[in-house]
Symmetry: C2
Subunit: 453 residues, 2 copies
């Protein structure tokens, strides 16, 4: 395959890049190419989303992103389109950023991958390179994407077109900032194609880039990283629940263990959320299943983490029971719905799950999350202010450790509340130090036994 | 409890320290106290061991240890004794370093702990502090050691005597060197007792020392660290086996994932050995069992690692099958019996397990380990030289990655061997780069598919 046109296009920034899927990965990726001076076609099936983007609006709350969007539009470097045929035909580089969620049955849903592979295959021409940034299993590019494209296009891999895996390693909330910091991983369908794509990424980012021998290897790297995190969070969740039973404070244990040179701390919580960690293990589990191999450890880790919202409900029930109350009918202030701190994202959020569990048990929940002020998220009404969520509260349940919640003035809360009964505080992220809390609180955390301040 | 005598004893180095159990932890610990100028009574039930020590001989192969032993004897700072009553009565500080292995049924065997607690209880006098360096579960000091001592001595904890947990965090092969480097963890039966023991350790080591709220918390820290390692090695073993099936090189994946800021690499191998990693999880599992709680993840991780020797046998069988040979009757050079690199220690060694499995399958094994030259270890004869182990070899199986094995001259081996058939090389620690091997080798590793060089 002749790569000279693409190489000279990198040097002159004259390549056209089509990015398919303008979500949390696709939009930042598209804009990073415009930042470097490339012409980008941003493609999505969602016309409302495209219209919003044309008006410089995006639902994605990433620091620095709006600025990049404004500049790209101002410099006329980006066009937004729902015309896939046009976008495939016109571009030199086609970047797949479509979502790869898991289904309700916890099986990877590659329907968007199949669909975009069809569309690319239908209009592919010689000399193009397809990059997959979507998270997929190690076999997906080899066994799904490439066969579809070859069949539809009647073109031959590495002779007529190239494929590269360059899985995103983004950390939501820091996507733009991390773009120049976190090492990129690239695996090409041939060594030369991988090399050219490294040159392409080198032209848009200061981050290190390493080449892996195959696209599947790059995907294995990405999944291994996230499975590592999922398993380690499961381990500390499992230990936290045990240590609480043994009267040992897991927060103290983590602090102590962190003084050992070969220990890496992870933290317990109400579960594991987001688009990656609770999903990525299932890509590997499905590939393993095809090989008649059962990755028991990875599966058990998933199950341990999936049980944490229910455990958090148990903890709340226990803490309320300590003061002679039931969940039913108790006014509970729920703090945080995002799946992790300081971002606006409720994908597979354990916090949302716990809120739903409380509702099912007929608690009278009063929810506050600064990222969702006044909104209704999956039947959960978020109030207009923290103050409103505190009204006549009997119990505060912290579910997401947003910055705002770290400096809550509990002295003030104790003053304004009914003084007759203690306030129950369930700190599912272990962010509070009970020694610094005012008197009259019944405190518990994950892996920390109930105590009275 | 009056601690002034002990505090002034630390300042003047006039304390007498009795160390119970002179194994891989006890002897170095005893000698560290002599290094600082304390008088130490080293106590063991094994009279042969005591006689050896008196003659400045030890089976423990730790760099720097013999030098410390020589100096301690020369300065007359250490006496060796099997008289427990004498050693308990005479000392101010009693340090428990007895072994806490697991039984064949994978249940912690605390018989040595019970026995020493009995003996201490029988002769304890007011004002003494007992330190436990042995690895025990978070409940063992509270529910086993203290009750026995209180009952036997009729003395009261914290009023008459103190107890401290100071679990060793030693890395075999670097015990002496790490003594001044790895942070110590201390949990006392009271805050003041913990504080005094920190002063004591500060007088013998430059390492940082942190205080934990209870003895059990210190034990939980120690176990959490080792369980973290066991689980993470299990995870990479599980992934390695899968990646091999998917045609992905696990070594490349680990290298790639290590470029992500929040990933910590662990490495696959023929299993997990040593006195700590394969045992410590069972201490936690037993404590959990008492609380009717099942730590599934920790248990599965143990099982994954325990299956690795059998998987290694499968790998050898497969690699031999590739060249049309059976394990039975094939001359196999086995390299390494220690449980890890560069140490003389075969406790729960997976390498030894694989050697036994090969023997069971009637391979004609020729074993070489520089640390066990000419010895017979559990029915396995170790030859006198590497050259002898190579005689007419058809297959080399590397099981322990001793330094010596990293620079094997395979060019030379290929020259001296029968040239008609390829050499099979099973690299269970993935230390060789097949690209750098001479032609004619059938190579495979853990998580790396069979290939011909």
């Amino acid at each position: 395959m002749d790569l000279t046109k693409i190489i000279s296009g990198i040097n002159s920034k004259k390549l056209i890049i089509s990015v398919f899927g303008l979500g949390r990965i696709g939009l930042p990726t598209a804009l990073m190419f415009t930042r470097a001076g490339y012409n980008v076609i941003g493609v999505d099936i969602d016309k409302d989303l495209l219209n919003d983007l044309k008006k410089k609006k995006t639902f994605i709350d990433e620091p620095g992103l709006l600025d990049l969007l404004n500049k790209a539009i101002q410099k006329n470097l980006i066009e937004f389109s729902s015309d896939f045929e046009y976008a495939v035909k016109k571009a030199n580089i086609l970047i797949i950023c479509v979502p790869t969620p898991i289904s309700e049955n916890k099986v990877p849903d590659y329907s968007a991958i199949k669909d975009i592979s069809d569309k690319i295959g239908n209009s592919l021409t010689q000399g193009q390179i397809i990059i997959c940034e979507s998270s997929v299993s190690p076999t997906t590019i080899r066994d799904l994407i490439i066969p579809i494209i070859e069949k539809k296009s009647e073109l031959k891999l590495n002779k007529d077109f190239g494929v590269c895996s360059c899985p995103e390693r983004a950390d939501p909330g820091k996507i733009v900032d991390n773009f120049d910091k976190v090492t990129r991983i690239v695996g090409g369908s041939s060594y030369k194609i991988g090399k050219v794509i490294i040159e392409l990424y080198e032209s848009i980012t200061n981050a290190n880039i390493i080449q892996l021998s195959t696209p599947g290897t790059a995907n294995a790297v990405k999944l291994t990283e996230n499975i590592f995190r999922d398993v380690n969070i499961a381990l500390i969740n499992e230990l936290a629940v045990l240590y609480e039973k043994l009267g040992i404070d897991v927060k103290e244990v983590i602090k102590g263990a962190s003084t050992k040179y070969n220990f890496q701390p992870h933290y317990p919580g109400p579960g594991v959320g987001g688009p990656c960690l609770p999903a990525n293990p299932y890509y590997i589990i499905q590939d393993a299943d095809k090989m008649d191999y059962i990755p028991f450890l990875i599966r058990v880790a998933r199950e341990v983490n999936d049980r944490m919202p229910a455990y958090t409900l148990d903890l709340i029930t226990d803490a309320l029971n300590y003061v002679g109350k039931s969940v039913k009918g108790t006014r509970i202030t729920v703090l945080g719905l995002s799946y992790k701190a300081d971002i606006k994202d409720i994908q597979i959020s354990p916090s949302l799950k716990v809120a739903h569990l409380l509702k099912e048990k007929n608690a009278s929940i009063q929810v506050w999350d600064p990222y969702y002020k006044g909104k209704i998220i999956k039947d959960i009404k978020i109030l207009d202010s923290f103050q409103e969520a505190l009204k006549e509260t009997e119990c505060i349940v912290l579910l997401t450790d947003h910055k705002e919640f770290r400096d809550i003035n509990f002295q003030h809360i104790m003053k304004i509340k009914n003084e007759d009964s203690p306030l129950v505080l369930v700190d599912s992220r272990n962010i509070y130090d009970p020694d610094n809390l005012p008197k009259g609180i019944v405190y518990c955390g994950i892996g920390r036994k109930i105590l009275e301040t």
